[in-house]
């Protein structure tokens, strides 16, 4: 038997990896950086923990303007845009709202680039009856400042407020009933869009549930049309709602989209962005910690020191002021379905990471931002929707967590709400959740009351509040997660009552949370850390 070489002579031991995106923790692995609200934890994880990273960003297109023009002139299953235009026609350009992309991208926003090209083309073809409508559905109205940032000063000054405005789902004169699907789903859509000769939808796609028929059929609809698919039964039937062919929600929205197509002429423009969420100063946050340079470690230590000296509100403000460095990686235009299929394929290239097998315990870092709290607070209901909703559903095939396993959410869970943006969430959290967490009971007993509450309606219409029914939808979005997950533990929650009200266990630290999870699923439980952000989706074999 040959004598085994000493460890020093063997050289660096290759880490146990499955590709660049999946790394296993061993004895000398670096600690991992984990988002927890406005803080970034630095945690040693148990040996054997699988850490899943996002793919490196796909290189952005060198000339986004050229790509957009090419898409408009070579659309899928439709005539080129210029061929559909005629002088004097009425055109509505509908635009995704501030919930996309996440966080907001550096200026110029890709929507500005697309709209500038569109307006140029419309002008050249004699079209001057143009309205820009933000397809915010039941989301909050964007503020003037946000609207200006999204399309640039020039367009804002030319169109706002008369021809550039937010969709109003509660305007009795602004909504048209288009009909019902064969399954009885109501389709009510924005009047201006319906009565236009052509509606052009400008979309941003980050995840597979964005875009497609969801753009018009949901973005420009009213409460009656949303409630048919934003309900507990539909969500429970999704496996997952990020996997369109296996999403009951997507099926219902496609049926509504077919009704839209019968009544409206829609030219769909979809864009896909890469996942370059961080700029050069903070790009280490998305990388494998074992490969950090000394400079990366210094940057992290400086960031940690700075954050430790600041109150939560100041940290939030700092993070909210760091725009993402997203770049355009694809643009297609034309008929809704083929355009969406092409974009989905591109998104899968960027976001889908292959994983072998499920885990008994999965750690979800919950960052400071979600689609519903741009420039605001991630309140407990939104923490729930990020964990049980979005992150649980970021899979294709099977969930990362095995059925009945334990999820660890890393978040401080402050009992803090934004009175201007989320007034109905406050009542939902304080009045309804102490009574029940049962989504169906909440739906039947209270959804209608909140949706029809005149104060919430006026705050949605005149202020910047989410619709009264929105917290219900957010709760339902966690339904398939709740049905699948055996136990939820919040690591680092700053109080006991928020986790208790949400039906979660609380742990002081991630280490304690892992111990609690192991006592629930077994001492030899497998653990996976999904290293969000940036966004990644798991393709689980």
């Amino acid at each position: 038997m040959s004598k085994r070489e000493s460890k020093a002579l063997r050289g660096p031991v290759p880490r146990h990896k499955e590709g660049d995106e999946v790394v296993y923790i061993d004895n000398d692995s670096a600690p991992r950086l984990i988002f927890s609200g406005e803080d970034i934890l630095c945690e040693d994880l148990p040996v054997g923990t699988r850490v899943v990273y996002g793919k490196p960003p796909i290189e952005g297109l060198n000339n986004p303007g050229a790509a957009i023009r090419y898409a408009l002139n070579h659309p899928l299953d439709a005539d080129p845009l210029y061929a559909q235009l005629a002088p004097g026609m009425r055109v509505t350009i509908a635009i995704d709202d501030i919930s996309l992309p996440l966080p907001p991208m550096r200026t110029p926003d890709i929507r500005q680039t697309v709209i500038e090209i569109l307006l140029e083309m419309l002008d050249a073809n004699g079209v001057d009856d143009i309205h820009l409508v933000i397809a915010n559905s039941l989301h909050r109205r964007m503020t003037d400042g946000e609207m200006k940032r999204m399309v640039g000063k020039k367009i804002f000054d030319a169109f706002h407020p008369d021809r550039y405005y937010n969709h109003d789902a509660e305007d009795p004169d602004g909504i048209v009933h288009l009909g019902k699907t064969a399954k009885g789903e109501t389709v009510n859509i924005n009047r201006r869009a319906v009565e236009s000769d052509l509606t052009i939808y400008v979309n941003i796609n980050l995840v597979p549930m964005d875009g497609g028929h969801k753009s018009v059929a949901v973005g420009l609809c009213d409460y009656e049309s949303v409630r048919v698919h934003h309900d507990p039964d539909t969500i429970a039937a999704c496996d997952s709602y990020m996997d369109p062919p296996r999403s009951e929600m997507n099926t219902k929205i496609e049926r509504q989209g077919a009704i839209v197509d019968q009544h409206m002429k829609v030219f769909h423009i979809e864009t896909a962005l890469n996942n370059r969420m961080f700029g050069s100063a903070t790009d280490f946050l998305g990388r494998n910690e074992d490969e950090f340079s000394e400079f990366d470690r210094m940057k992290y230590e400086a960031m940690r020191f700075g954050l430790s000296k600041l109150p939560t509100a100041a940290k939030r403000k700092i993070f909210q002021n760091i725009p993402a460095e997203y770049e355009l990686i694809a643009c297609y235009a034309g008929k809704t379905e083929p355009v969406h299929q092409r974009i989905l394929a591109k998104l899968n290239d960027q976001y889908m990471v292959s994983l072998k097998g499920q885990s008994d315990i999965v750690i979800f870092p919950i960052p400071y931002v979600s689609p519903y709290n741009i420039n605001s607070i991630l309140n407990p209901i939104l923490v729930q929707v990020m964990g049980m909703g979005y992150f649980h559903n970021f899979y294709r095939g099977k969930p990362v967590l095995r059925k009945g396993g334990a999820v660890i959410l890393c978040h401080p869970c402050h009992d803090e709400f934004d009175h201007k943006f989320h007034p109905s969430y406050i009542e939902f959290f304080n009045r309804l959740l102490p009574e029940t967490r049962d989504a169906r009971k909440l739906q039947h007993k209270y959804e209608e009351e909140f949706a029809r509450n005149p104060s919430y309606i006026e705050m949605y219409r005149r202020g910047n509040a989410y619709h009264g029914a929105h917290p219900f939808f957010m709760w339902y979005w966690g339904e398939n997660g709740r049905n699948h997950i055996g136990k939820v533990i919040v690591a680092g929650a700053k109080n006991a009552h928020v986790p208790a009200r949400m039906g979660w266990d609380r742990a002081e630290s991630l280490t304690e949370a892992i111990s609690t999870a192991r006592s629930f699923v077994g001492p030899s439980a497998s653990i996976t850390l999904m290293k969000w952000p940036p966004i990644l989706m798991a393709d689980v074999e």
Binding site: H419, N453, P454, S455, Y456, I457, M459, R461, R462
Partner: protein, 220 residues
């Protein structure tokens, strides 16, 4: 069980307040000299009104309504329609119409609970399609105002008491009722229902609403 939406008037549904109504009457006195002197006297009294209102709404009422002493009932009623058309109607907040309409669609009874005088509120109630109202009433003797209000005087806690009695009489469930006001003096009126909303609130009410997690609405 049925429910209602209770609205304060001044500052909540419209921009005007009691002083606007009185000032209009003062400006339209019989005789130029009388009009000018009444108007000047009203303007000079405004700081006293503000101070009294800040201290206690009942004190404000005592001081303010004394100024009606000697006014003719016929003339006040005659001027009320004109006051509504020229002063109150243009000052109704645009959002007030939508709020009342949505509230009515919900099947809520619309009730005005105000410290304004009955004859100034009647045209507005008619205009907004409000079902019921409670207001203050001036005392008249021989067709002339005495400068006193007939009890119960609608202010602060009295509004809440009236709402409780009204709800009992009409079979309304207060925990399902809505209440809207702009002023801290109406805290009891807001506290007595299940769905209070601060509308265009003053600083003190805004802070209270934030502390109680009540919705804050801007109808302006």
């Amino acid at each position: 069980m049925a429910a209602a939406a209770f609205y304060d008037l001044d500052g909540t549904l419209c921009r005007t307040n009691l002083v606007h109504a009185f000032a209009y009457n003062a400006r339209n006195q019989q005789g130029v000299v009388r009009s000018i002197s009444r108007t000047l006297s009203t303007v000079l009294s405004i700081p006293a009104f503000v101070a009294a209102d800040f201290f206690d709404r009942r004190l404000f009422n005592d001081i303010f309504f004394r100024r009606y002493k000697g006014e003719s009932e016929d003339r006040l009623r005659y001027l009320a329609e004109e006051l509504f058309d020229k002063v109150i109607k243009p000052s109704i907040f645009p959002g007030a119409y939508q709020l009342i309409e949505k509230s009515r669609q919900l099947g809520l009874r619309q009730v005005l609970v105000t410290g304004a005088i009955d004859f100034t509120a009647i045209p507005l109630v008619r205009h907004l399609g409000i079902d019921d109202m409670v207001t203050n009433h001036l005392e008249f003797v021989d067709g002339k105002a005495t400068g006193r209000l007939l009890p119960p005087v609608m202010a602060a806690a009295t509004k809440a008491s009236w709402m409780r009695i009204y709800a009992e009489k009409e079979g309304l469930n207060l925990s399902e009722c809505y209440s809207y006001s702009d002023s801290m003096s109406d805290l009891p009126m807001l506290s007595v229902v299940g769905h209070p909303t601060a509308v265009n609130p003053d600083f003190r009410l805004k802070n209270t609403a934030l502390q109680h997690d009540w919705p804050i609405l801007d109808l302006r």
